[in-house]
């Protein structure tokens, strides 16, 4: 049997690697990819808590399911915005895009 703490170590590492990427990445798409890592780590935690602590119920699994759906929606809208920014500015580096309003 795998102890429940092992899963927590993995998901915590994944979350904070995502945080590191979100802080250091200069490119909007790469930042969005770090965001996916963060969301994914949270989903693992939901599923693990559900499976180990409340094995006869399904709340954590459905939370993960809905969170995956919302992550998909969020990514689609964010990528649409990024592509629109690229069309106006010809670049997607965070410190070079200065005129988002016009």
């Amino acid at each position: 049997m795998i102890p429940i703490e092992y899963y927590f170590v993995i998901s915590t590492l994944m979350l904070f690697i995502g945080v590191y990427g979100f802080i250091t990445r200069p490119n909007m798409l790469a930042m969005l990819m770090s965001l996916e890592l963060i969301l994914n780590a949270v989903n693992i935690n939901f599923a693990v808590f559900n499976r180990y602590l409340y094995a006869d119920q399904l709340e954590g699994m459905f939370f993960s399911l809905f969170s995956i759906g919302i992550a998909a929606a969020e990514t689609a809208v964010a990528i649409a915005i990024i592509i629109n920014v690229f069309r106006h500015e010809k670049k997607i580096e965070t410190n070079e895009v200065k005129n988002l309003k016009y």
Binding site: F8, V19, N40, Y52
Partner: protein, 170 residues
Amino acid sequence: MEITANQIIFFILSAIIVVCSVFAVTERKILRAATHLLFVLLATAGLYFLLNYHFLAAVQISVYVGGILILFVFSIFLTSQVGSEMPAVKLSRKIAGLVVSISGAALCLFVLLTQNYPGAQEISEGEIDMTEIGQALMGVDEFQYLLPFEAISVLLLACIIAAILVARKK
């Protein structure tokens, strides 16, 4: 303590997750970073298989790997030159990121590992019956999820319209 096959698979998957997520946030060619992200998401689906959440693993593969990652790859093709590298990260930014993430990870790990999990039990074998999942998703009683299901379908519709509206040409 004898090592079971499950534990070996778990350690392989977790090694893939940690190594590939480090590469996914440090790799300077963005398409390679997306490929590393692909391995992280697949290994996460593997963890769901280990937990016997087969439906969740299938959703993870079909939505994340099949949907979101394809979106990423296409938008990378649309927005950046193939083979171009992102500029190197400034040292101060790197240090700030490392301080934030290491201190946050230390804090979270401290809380999670000193905590006692009284109900933690052996995982029962066998997957969850699909009938049970379907009825929980489509019912209106307690612990059933028709309302969030409908709310998410409205959200997805709004998201489709918003994506078209934002991304279309003037």
